[in-house]
Structure formats: C-alpha cells, structure tokens
C-alpha cells in the first residue's frame, strides 16, 4: 500500500513540475513578444541598479498590473508561475503524505511549505 502511494506521488509530482514549467515558459514568451513589439525601441539599461517599480515587486502588484494591459507584468506573472511550481509540488507532497498517514512527513512538509509561503508573501 505504502509503495503504491509513493510511486503515485512521484508520478503526480512529475506532472506538476512539468506543467508548471510549460505554463510559465509560455506566459513569459507571450509577455516577451509583447515587449519586443510594443517597447522594442526603448533603451535597455541594466548597468545601474535602480530596483524594480513597486508593481513588479509583489504578487498582488503583478496581478493588479497585468490587465492594464502591461507586457512587463505579464512576464512577471509567468515568473510567479515558475516560483509557484516548486511550492505547488510541496503542497501536493503534503496531500500525498497525509493520504499515506505519515505524520512525521506531514509535519516536515508543513514546515517547508510555511517557509516558502512566508518568503513569497511577506514584504522583505
């Protein structure tokens, strides 16, 4: 029974990781084409660090900016999908370990998930 669930969990994790990368790469590509078409002739300057505007610095900011419409926010949304991919993987592992009734690993996974969510949501 245990092996069955472990193998199944591995399958699910594999699908989650692959689809996360595909969805995020497609979104980033779409945003990239949008930038090249609409902002292609603007200067590219990364020599001096200024930090990103507030709209691109948080999950809420990006989500609010995407429909304005905003090419850069669309790329940032794709990158957020990417950051969310391993986090989703951890969340699926949590469900898997819970179904296996493996209390130790439910705790371990909860700790990792809490650290990841703290990093993404808190303002640093």
């Amino acid at each position: 029974m245990t092996t069955w669930t472990d193998v199944r969990l591995e399958r699910i994790i594999s699908v989650v990781l692959r689809s996360g990368v595909i969805v995020s790469a497609a979104t980033v590509l779409l945003g990239g084409l949008c930038i090249l078409v609409r902002h292609g002739h603007e200067p590219a300057g990364y020599r001096v660090f200024r930090g990103e505007p507030a709209a691109y610095r948080s999950v809420q900011g990006v989500i609010r900016a995407v429909p304005t419409p905003n090419c850069r926010a669309l790329i940032q949304l794709g990158l957020l999908f990417l950051i969310a991919t391993p986090i989703t993987r951890v969340a699926f592992s949590l469900v898997g370990f819970a179904l296996e009734r493996d209390r130790t690993y439910v705790c371990i996974t909860l700790i990792v998930l809490a650290i990841l969510l703290y990093s993404l949501i808190a303002e640093h």
Binding site: S24, G32, I35, E42, Y46, R47, S58, I87, V112
Partner: protein, 278 residues
C-alpha cells in the same frame, strides 16, 4: 542598446550558458551571471535575480524526469529542504546587505571551486554501512533502479548533512545559483548517499531552495522582467539541449575546456570586483 537588440543577445548567451551548464553538471545559473556582468555590464543584482529564476526552471524540468523514473528520494529531499530553504532566505537577506564588490569576490571564489570540482572524476560510492538511527526513524533509506533491479542504500550522518544543507541553501540565496555541487558534496561525503541518488535528489531540491530566496529577491526589486525573460527562456532551452546531448555521449574534452573557461571567468570576476568595476 535597444531592447530589440539586447534581448536576442542575452538569449544566445543564456542558451550557451544553459547548454554548457547541463553538459558539465555545473548548472546554467553559475555561468550566466558572470557572462551577463562581464560581457554585457549588467549590474550583479539584476544578473543574480534573472539567474535565480532560470535555476528554478531548469531544475524543475529535469526533476520532472528523475522523479518519475524513481531516482530522486523524495523523503530525503523533503527533510533536507527545511535546512536549504531557511539557508536560502538567510542568504538572500545577506545578499541585500553586502556590497556588490564583496558579492563579486564570493561569486568568483565559488566559481573557482566549481571549476576545480568539475574536473574531478565522479566519486566512487561509499560502501554501504549501518544506517544512522535517525535515518531509520525518518525513513530516509531508499533505493533507485538499475538495469540489474533496484539498488538499496542506507543513509548516514543525517545531522551533519542537515547542517551542510543550510550552508548550501545560504550560498544559493546569496548568489542566485542552484548550488547543486554543494548539495551533492553534503549528500555524498556526509550522508553516504550513492551518486545517482544524490545528484538527482539535489536537482529535486534546487527548485524549492531557489523558490525560497526568490520571494526575497522579488520583494527587493532584483527580478527585472525584461532581462529575466531572455535569460530564463535561453537557459531553459540551452539546458534541455545539453541534457539531450549528455544521453548521446560523455563529452570529456568539452568538460575540461569548459572548466578552464569557468576558472578564467572566476578570476576576471574577482579582479573586476576588487578594482570596483562590478
């Protein structure tokens, strides 16, 4: 330079970095950051932000295959991720506090270490010994498939490995790299996990480790969408191609040449940092 000229240039450099990073096992992130800063004069913080994002993409893509084939040990990965994620957040905080020249010197030194390590032969798996009682309690002992059937292994030195993983996470968060080499050393030397399992489990952990510092980087404005777009797409496509090449042949000569290139980059990085040009 306009965005229309800059983007394809970055894409090509990133694809090359991803390709060579996959072939040598160093990872694309370690190579793309010095390439962007030294060749294109990108500020180190923007380069690190873009590199970190590309690390999540390549490790998740590769891990998808390894996990399905049963090479990665998801329990070892999950348990050690407590240490790597806390380390990653600490490293990312540290990155926002030290100067770019200090960061450049540290990056150069890590790069030198990676170049040195890449020319060493694959370590021999340690003889299987009695497991750590903690490994039994945490169900870390595992197996991976071989042509002769599954090979079982025992895990030792759990506490030491856990401590080393904090360090590996901190380096990852500080420099925006996967620090796969450090993770493999910890699992190989301290925990006596066989090479096949330790490399694939390390890959599995890299995405979660990088995601932990990505939150700090994002909030500090290090992740620039216009730069990260060609870097992420370039490293991802380059490394996919590199992994495919690896299955066809073991490019030993290429590995050696690339080791020298990385060492030169490291020296250049340290020099630029010390003369305040970074």
């Amino acid at each position: 330079m306009s965005i229309l000229e800059f983007t394809p240039l970055v894409f090509v450099i990133a694809a090359l970095a991803g390709f060579l990073g996959a072939l040598t096992g160093l990872g694309g992130g370690v190579v793309v950051t010095p390439a962007l800063t030294l060749l294109l004069g990108v500020d180190l913080r923007y380069a690190i932000g873009a590199s970190l994002v590309s690390v999540i993409a390549t490790s998740s893509g590769a891990a998808a295959a390894y996990v399905r084939e049963g090479f990665s040990n998801i329990r070892i990965g999950m348990f050690l991720e407590i240490a790597t994620t806390v380390g990653a957040i600490a490293g990312a905080y540290l990155a926002t506090r030290v100067s770019t020249s200090a960061l450049g010197v540290i990056f150069g030194l890590v790069l030198l270490l990676a170049a040195w390590q890449s020319r060493l032969p694959q370590p021999k798996d340690a003889a299987d010994a009695d497991p750590d009682p903690l490994a039994v309690r945490l169900k870390l002992n595992g197996s991976y498939p071989t042509p002769e059937g599954p090979r079982h292994y025992h895990v030792r030195g759990v506490k030491t490995g856990f401590g080393l993983m904090f360090g590996a996470g901190a380096v990852s968060g500080l420099l925006g790299v996967g620090s796969g080499a450090l993770k493999v050393i910890a699992m190989d030397q301290a925990m006596h996990i066989p090479f096949k399992a330790s490399t694939t489990t390390s890959n599995f952990m890299i995405g979660v480790t990088a995601a932990a510092s990505a939150g700090v980087y994002l909030s500090r404005g290090y992740i620039d969408p216009t730069l990260a777009m060609p870097v992420m797409l370039g490293v991802l496509s380059g490394s996919l191609l590199g992994v495919r090449m690896l299955m066809v042949a073991r490019p030993r000569v290429l590995r050696m040449i690339f080791g020298v290139v990385v060492a030169l980059m490291a020296v250049q990085m340290i020099f630029s940092a010390l003369t305040g040009r970074l």
